[in-house]
């Protein structure tokens, strides 16, 4: 019924239609179509071929390795991210601006360069490589190196989510907790963590998606040893280069599913965060009298 009322400042109908068409068309062509294509290709030779491709020993190993890397990287990044955000949000110190800029460094540098830098440091011709090799520690072309580069690449996700959140929340709650006698640990787990939990979870979801999907940096330090240092994204590339399209897309479909799960989880967390903020910003209820009762 409100359709009849045209807002005076509204764009003309044809412009709205054009913008809508451009936006949705782009979304369909560049995002939805490829996603559908992944699954279509994966199932081209039927369900059995798909299942066979996924139950291949090397594919299973790639999946396992990807999960292992994420499992190691995420807890470390949670601790480092919370620590860095805490330091930046609650303390004033020299070089704070530099630290904030450095946190963004992994976003600014190409992942391939990150991989090369780690090769330079830990490789056989690198700075620490020979020293480590002499002690039987292998970083590059092995799991530790892949974990290190993934840590580096995914570090900003949690910190960048938490810093603005913690800055906006201020330190009043923490000071209140301390003045009520809480220890630092009690303050963190009872007051700070509940306040930042949704922001933290949001950062973890994004970091996880990146940790599992990272290609460039991991590719450089992995050495592409089949069945040993191949993560899922690397495995997809190898299979595709061998013209094994069904297996490649089957593996890719797992990554695509991961993306969909990530999106859903992200939406859910965003919704929870918004709801919590709305509850917080909700207007005050009407005041009631504050007179003390007559005491005997």
């Amino acid at each position: 019924m409100s359709e009849a009322i045209e807002k005076a400042n509204a764009e003309p109908r044809w412009l709205r239609a054009l913008l809508l068409f451009l936006g949705l068309g782009f979304l369909f062509l560049f995002l939805l179509l490829p996603l559908v294509a992944v699954f279509v290709e994966a199932f081209r030779s039927g369900w059995n071929a798909y299942a066979d491709a996924l139950s291949d020993r090397e594919t299973l190993h790639a999946i396992k390795l990807t999960v292992v890397i994420a499992f190691v990287v995420l807890p470390v990044n949670i601790v480092l991210g919370v620590a860095a955000s805490w330091a930046i949000a609650k303390f004033d110190f020299r070089g704070k601006g530099l630290l904030v800029t450095l946190i963004d460094l992994p976003f600014a540098v190409s992942p391939v360069v990150v991989g090369l830098v780690f090769l330079l440091i830990f490789g056989m011709q690198g700075l620490l490589g020979p020293w480590l090799e002499a002690r039987g520690i292998r970083i590059v072309f092995a799991l530790p190196g892949m974990i290190l580069v993934t840590l580096f690449i995914t570090f900003p996700f949690i910190a960048r989510e938490l810093i603005p959140l913690m800055l906006s929340q201020g330190a009043d709650d923490e000071e209140a907790a301390i003045s009520l006698g809480a220890s630092g640990v009690q303050m963190f787990f009872r007051v700070t963590l509940p306040k930042i939990r949704w922001g933290l979870l949001y950062g973890v979801i994004l970091a996880n998606a990146r940790a599992m999907g990272e290609f460039g940096a991991v590719s450089v330090v992995s050495g592409h040893i089949r069945g040993e240092t191949n993560t899922l994204p690397l495995h997809v590339e190898i299979l595709y280069n061998e013209y094994n399209a069904v297996a490649a897309f089957a593996s890719a479909s797992i990554l695509a599913l991961l993306a969909l799960v990530t999106l859903a989880a992200k939406m859910l967390v965003e919704w929870r965060m918004r709801r919590e903020n709305e509850a917080l910003d909700a207007g005050f209820l009407p005041e009631r009298g504050v007179a003390l009762p007559n005491r005997p």
């Binding site: 709650d173 000071e175 907790a177 009520l180 006698g181 009872r190 509940p194 209820l285 005041e287 504050v290």
Partner: protein, 361 residues
């Protein structure tokens, strides 16, 4: 008894506090009053242990507490924006201080429940125990914050602009309520405010601060009717300021015709300035002894009082009359009247101008 001696604090180049000496006797309700940036909140936070002073020391009941951690000071702190834990119910907020005690000292669950409900009854909000802070009004939140601070049986209660975020009506109710609560729980309380009315109404003693220093300490009546400095005069209520003319006619008015104080106005090196409160000015319709001729510039009726702007030669003078008096005079713009200060206070102000922040004209 809290003794603060020679406390100083700097933030970079800014001197927040400079040589503060203050004694807070047990059981008193003390207001730290001053304009924003005067250091009052910093002083409160130093008492609480949330800031460390650069100089001086603080004693709680005779024992040095300067380096004592905030956790060990047994102070209750109430924040302007409540700082309630929003993920906890009202009950859990109040119980927080009891639940975080070391196992040996921690009361049983039943005991915690009893004490929390006692406090909620004290603040008359026991019916809100299961609500969350977001479901409460501002006044309710602040009362819960107060109950939470009292739960750990603090030796002193510190309140940082406790009513600053509330609207006028609630603020007035709540500050009277605080006064009664303070008398009921027998505790020393210090609250920070920039609202002179609040300080004068509620406190046993008012500490007027400016630029990191204490200007005056006294009962509300003392600081209002006998201000120790031009700043206090200007900060507590409206005041007419007359400069440069004190040695002439104003001084003679102050010294002889009226019961004014001069505080060494005879020293010609400095710059004597006369202060007259608007309600200490009488207006007459005809010339009387010692009165000055002036023109009515404007008349505003503000609730029970009438504020009159007078033009005397080149100076604007503000006077406050009761409605009845104003009615009897039937003042109109442009009318010629005679005014006469009932009370004048003269200060010697060293060369530079008076501080901003006051409401002098």
């Amino acid at each position: 008894m809290i003794e603060i001696s020679n406390v100083g604090k700097r933030f970079g180049n800014f001197t927040a506090l400079d040589g503060i000496d203050l004694k807070i006797p047990t059981g008193e309700l003390v207001a730290l009053l001053g304009p924003s940036g005067c250091g009052k909140t910093t002083l409160l936070r130093i008492i609480a242990g949330m800031e460390t002073p650069d100089a001086g020391n603080i004693r709680f009941a005779g024992a040095d507490a300067t380096r004592l951690h905030a956790r060990e000071r047994r102070v209750g702190f109430v924040f302007q924006h409540y700082a309630l834990f929003r993920h906890m119910s009202v009950f859990e907020n109040v119980a927080f201080g009891l639940r975080v005690k070391p196992r040996k000292e921690r009361p049983s669950d039943a005991e915690i429940r009893r004490r929390v409900f006692d406090l909620l009854k004290l603040i008359q909000l026991e019916w809100l125990a299961d609500r969350y802070p977001s479901q409460l009004s501002g006044g309710q939140r602040q009362r819960i914050a107060l109950a939470r601070a009292l739960a750990v049986e603090p030796k002193v209660l510190l309140l940082d602009e406790p009513f600053g975020a509330l609207d006028t009506k609630v603020r007035k109710e709540l500050r009277r309520w605080l006064r009664r609560l303070h008398d009921e729980v027998h505790i020393s309380s210090v609250f920070v405010t920039h609202d002179q009315e609040e300080a004068l109404e509620v406190a046993d003693r008012v500490v007027v601060m400016n630029r990191g220093r204490i200007e005056q300490i006294g009962t509300p009546d003392e600081v209002y009717s006998n201000p120790a400095s031009p700043f206090v005069y200007q900060f507590l209520g409206n005041v007419n300021v007359f400069r440069d003319r004190v040695q002439g006619r104003w001084a003679s008015v102050g010294n002889e015709a009226l019961d004014g104080t001069t505080d060494g106005a005879e020293n010609a090196e400095t710059n004597p300035v006369a202060f007259v409160r608007p309600h200490d000015i009488e207006i007459e319709a005809s010339a009387v002894e010692g009165a000055f001729e002036s023109t009515v510039k404007d008349v505003h009726t503000i609730g029970p009082i009438v504020r009159v702007e007078l033009l005397h030669e080149t100076e604007l003078i503000e006077a406050e009359l009761t409605r009845e008096r104003a009615h009897a005079l039937s003042l109109t713009r442009g009318q010629t009247v005679w005014f006469k200060p009932r009370q004048i206070k003269i200060f010697n102000v060293p060369g530079n101008a008076l501080e901003e922040g006051g409401s002098g004209i």
